[in-house]
């Protein structure tokens, strides 16, 4: 467990020792260690005194309907199961079963198997965790804040990028920029996200890039109104859609902010092609260039060929965000709740990847 923490810690500290092209203040912020990781390390050290148990099936629930068993479409955790576990059943979009691999490089996992149920709403997941129908579930902001007796919570670094993505129909850049300026990210973070995550107008999280704070994220309603008022009336009617129902409240708030700025934003049906989509993209790597490339690929943005320096990376990201086709809003952590009988190390990595090989269940085989 300590080696895992050290690896993460070293990774975070070493990455931008001297970020070129940044100011002193920016460098100071870039050097700041991530406090969340310290908490993770402390949390992981606590159950180490408990004697591990072999056996048992870890039931995991996720929101997504994962259609492919192959990465990168397998979501944040499934790909990382491979190695310690081998897949035994796959029902696309519904459920998957993994069995412990006796020949795993790090040794056989404590768990006999992992069963993953997909497409489970957050609210249901929380209930399933409470009633013992699942051992590991994703937690929404409200659930994470409330907590529960004996429940463990695994929180990653901010690795989920929540952003607005404009469709091709929204041609007027003033509309796009106006909406970007209208969104009151602070209110959303404080209330809907319960202060989990970070406000950001950048694609890469601050803890990876170190320069995310350079992208303006504060709202400017007056300027937004001016820009939108200059646009054609017909262009001021937009529809907003969400891919995940848990983002519906956030989309409603964005629509409300947009209305204040002079836009008429209506909620689109989930399956429809909305003018604006509120999407979530997972950071797949802690290495900035790879992470940005992954994000760009996920958002359909062009990936620059070379990002071998901080300046190049910064410029590449700035270029991606020019034109406001994509408006990043938040960087959120992956938050999982684990039942009290789940013991062992923290079940996720700082990137939110599942690490179940060092997790066991109390009451498993002695």
């Amino acid at each position: 467990m300590c080696s895992r923490w050290l690896a993460v810690s070293k990774h975070c500290n070493v990455l931008w020792d001297r970020p070129p092209g940044l100011s002193t203040a920016s460098r100071r912020q870039a050097r700041r260690p991530v406090p969340l990781l310290i908490l993770l390390a402390l949390a992981a050290s606590a159950p180490a005194a408990t004697r591990p148990h072999y056996g048992g099936v870890l039931r995991v629930e996720v929101r997504q309907n994962i259609e492919s068993v192959d990465p990168p479409d397998t979501g944040p955790g499934l790909a990382d199961l491979i190695g310690a576990f081998s897949i035994t059943r796959w029902e696309a979009g519904r459920r998957a079963s993994y069995a412990a691999d006796d020949g795993a490089p790090g040794g056989r996992p404590f768990l006999d198997a992992v069963e993953v149920q997909m497409g489970r709403p957050l609210r249901d997941q929380s209930i399933d965790l409470e009633v013992g129908k699942a051992e590991v579930v994703e937690l929404g902001p409200g659930d994470a804040r409330r907590g529960a007796a004996g429940r463990r919570m695994w929180v990653s670094a901010p690795v989920r990028i929540v952003a607005l993505v404009f469709g091709p129909r929204v041609e007027d850049a003033r509309i796009r920029e106006g909406l970007a300026l209208a969104v009151d990210r602070t209110a959303i973070l404080n209330v809907l996200l319960q202060k989990q995550g970070e406000i950001s107008a950048a694609l890469l999280p601050q803890w990876i890039s170190g320069y995310a704070f350079l992208f303006q994220s504060s709202a400017d309603l007056a300027k937004a109104r001016t820009m939108i008022a200059a646009a054609a009336t017909a262009a001021r009617n937009l529809s907003i859609g969400v891919e995940d129902a848990s983002f519906r409240a956030m989309a409603d708030r964005v629509a409300l902010n947009a209305r204040d700025a002079g836009l008429a934003v209506t909620a689109a049906a989930p399956a429809s092609a909305a003018d604006v989509r509120l999407v979530e993209v997972q950071v797949v790597s802690s290495e900035p260039a790879r992470a940005l490339a992954g994000i760009a690929a996920a958002l359909g943005l062009a990936v620059p060929p070379r990002m071998d320096s901080v300046e190049a990376l910064y410029n590449a990201e700035r270029a991606m965000l020019d034109g406001f086709r994509v408006v990043p809003l938040f960087h959120l952590p992956a938050v999982y709740g684990a039942a009290p009988r789940v013991r062992g190390a923290t079940g996720i990595s700082p990137l939110g990847q599942w690490k179940f090989e060092n997790v066991w269940l109390e009451g498993g085989r002695p």
Partner: protein, 581 residues
């Protein structure tokens, strides 16, 4: 138009007017009664609405106060960071049966909103502007929803915990469901207009039935005047009477209009039936009126007609005509008066005839005396001369006697002629009618007078119309009349002149004219010309023109004279073609 027709028309018009007035009065009374009932029904419905409003208000107040007393509200009020409660309102609203619920912090910022969860952090300044909220009172307010604005029955409860404060603003929408709770009688409907926008919006009109353009005017009028309005919209059976009540918010601003509509179909049908019955009654009344009028007018006019016929008979000279008196009323008294009048007229006529007869005899005596006195005076003188000659001049007696005898004979001849004329006038026989060719008669008569006319130096002219018809007449009497007129003309022209005799065909007969160029007549002379024994001449009996008039009268003709002094005179005799029939 006869009196009877006029009376009948008056009678009929009176009946029609009476029926019309009754119909109008009945319709007016019916309309007033209907509108009174309509107003009563509307008032009842308004009362029902108010009761329902009060009941709902009480429900809302109870729910809001219940939330205000809850631990959740207290926790939110005392929480230093209430952001974690942003989703509480939805659950609380559902638990307390509220459509709308907002939990608002003491600074006016929305902590949680059930109707629009995304509005957290927005400020409800109106809560702070109003100051202290009285507990237990509900009011109307506009509430914002994600898809628009709605009208809500709301209440506010204040949760105070130390320095912290929380406003609980809950309510229920005034929507179609609210209207559906009203129990509406047949023919009535309730509509609710929610004034959620500055301009009228048709989609904010809730309730069943059609919405005419004039409904918009009523709503706008009610909102502008902020008081109850009443108006009838539509026409005929589709008309409806609308009572519009403004619904005010907590600050008195009108936020809605309740419209209670009552169909006037019943009134229209009732009026239609009344009109039909009225027409039928009027038609029957007119028929009855005509029948009764005919009977009544006959009763009234029959004695009047008898009177009229009697008056006509009296006018025709039948002066002894009387009217049968059948009643003692005004008509009977009129008949009595008429009979008295005719009796008096008859008596007066007899007295007049008597007087005229006496006057005629006196005139006759005067004329006789006058006519006889003229020849008698020479007779007396002649006899006295003969006596004086025998006594004083015997030698001249023979000669005086011879001359005297001639004079006596001449004057006796005059006396005989005078007597003969009177005898002729007295002996005027009835005419013996036969077709008479007046052109021929004129020619023959004028031939007789040719020597006399030539001696008097008078030129005779005949202007005879060849188209003059033959007229039934007595040729001998007409010849005598023509002769008298010719003699009269000769006498009028002692210095000679022109005598013109004309015949002319008239539309209904013949005109015979005798014109002279003598000295003419004055109007007074013309008026008395045909009076017997009247003469403008120094000689003559004055019977000539009287005889002419008598003859013309016996032939049912008419004689007239046109004359002016110095311009001669023209006598005209008009005879009908069938004269004497």
């Amino acid at each position: 138009m006869t009196f009877r027709t006029r009376l009948l028309l008056i009678f009929t018009l009176a009946v029609v007017a009476s029926v019309g007035v009754v119909e109008w009065l009945v319709q007016g009374a019916t309309r007033r009664e209907f509108e009174r009932m309509d107003a009563a029904r509307s008032d009842a419905l308004v009362m029902q609405f108010r009761k329902e409003f009060d009941r709902r208000s009480q429900e809302v107040v109870s729910a809001v106060e219940g939330i205000g007393r809850s631990d959740t509200a207290l926790n939110i009020a005392i929480s230093p960071d209430p952001t974690s409660f942003y989703s509480e309102a939805g659950a609380l609203a559902a638990a307390h049966g509220l459509d709308l619920l907002e939990l608002v912090a003491g600074d006016g910022a929305i902590v949680s909103s059930a109707e629009w969860p995304a509005r957290f952090g927005y400020h409800e300044d109106w809560l702070l502007e109003h100051g202290d909220w009285a507990e237990g009172q509900a009011f109307l307010r506009r509430a914002e929803l994600p898809d628009g604005v709605t009208l809500a029955l709301a209440a506010v409860s204040t949760v105070a915990a130390g320095d912290s404060k929380l406003f609980v603003v809950g309510g229920q929408q005034l929507d179609q469901a609210f209207l559906s709770t009203l129990v509406l009688p047949d023919g009535m409907r309730a509509l609710l207009y929610r004034s959620l926008q500055p301009a009228f919006a048709a989609e904010q009109m809730l309730g069943p039935g059609p919405r005419s353009a004039s409904l918009q005017a009523l709503v706008e009028d009610t909102l502008a005047r902020k008081r109850e309005r009443y108006r009838v919209l539509g026409t005929g059976a589709d008309a409806e009477s609308f009572h519009a009540l403004p619904l005010a918010g907590y600050d008195g601003a009108p936020l809605g209009v309740l419209l209670i509509a009552s169909s006037r179909r019943g009134l229209a049908e009732l009026e239609s039936k009344q009109l039909r019955y009225g027409i039928e009654v009027a038609a029957f009344g007119i028929l009855m009126g005509v029948a009764l009028g005919a009977w009544a007018t006959a009763r009234v006019t029959r004695p009047v007609e008898r009177l009229a016929r009697s008056a006509t008979a009296v006018a025709a000279g039948n002066w002894d005509t009387t009217v049968e008196v059948t009643s003692g009323d005004e008509i009977g008294r009129l008949a009595l008066a008429f009979n008295r009048m005719t009796e008096e007229l008859t008596a007066q006529r007899e007295r007049l005839v008597q007087a005229e007869r006496v006057a005629a005899w006196r005139e006759l005596a005067r004329r006789l005396a006058h006519e006889l006195k003229n020849p008698l005076f020479p007779l007396q003188i002649t006899v006295e001369n003969m006596q004086r000659a025998r006594s004083q001049y015997p030698e001249q007696f023979d000669e005086v006697f011879r001359e005297g005898a001639q004079t006596l004979l001449a004057e006796l001849g005059n006396l005989k002629q005078i007597v003969a004329r009177f005898s002729d006038f007295a002996k005027m026989p009835a005419p013996e009618m036969q077709p008479v060719d007046f052109n021929r008669l004129v020619g023959q008569t004028m031939k007789l007078f040719e020597p006399q006319l030539a001696k008097a130096g008078i030129a005779a002219t005949q202007e005879l119309d060849p188209a003059a018809p033959a007229v039934m007449a007595d040729p001998e009497q007409m010849t005598r009349a023509l002769r008298n007129l010719i003699l009269n003309a000769i006498d009028a022209m002692p210095q000679g002149g022109t005598l013109t005799v004309r015949t002319r065909r008239m539309s209904a007969g013949l005109r015979l004219e005798v014109a002279d160029t003598g000295q003419g007549l004055t109007p007074e002379e013309c008026g008395r010309l045909f009076t017997p024994y009247y003469s403008t001449k120094t000689h003559g009996t004055g019977l000539g023109l009287a005889i002419v008039q008598s003859v013309v009268s016996d032939h049912h003709g008419r004689i007239s004279v046109a004359s002016a002094p110095g311009k001669g005179a023209t006598f005209q005799i008009d005879l009908a073609a069938e004269a004497g029939d």
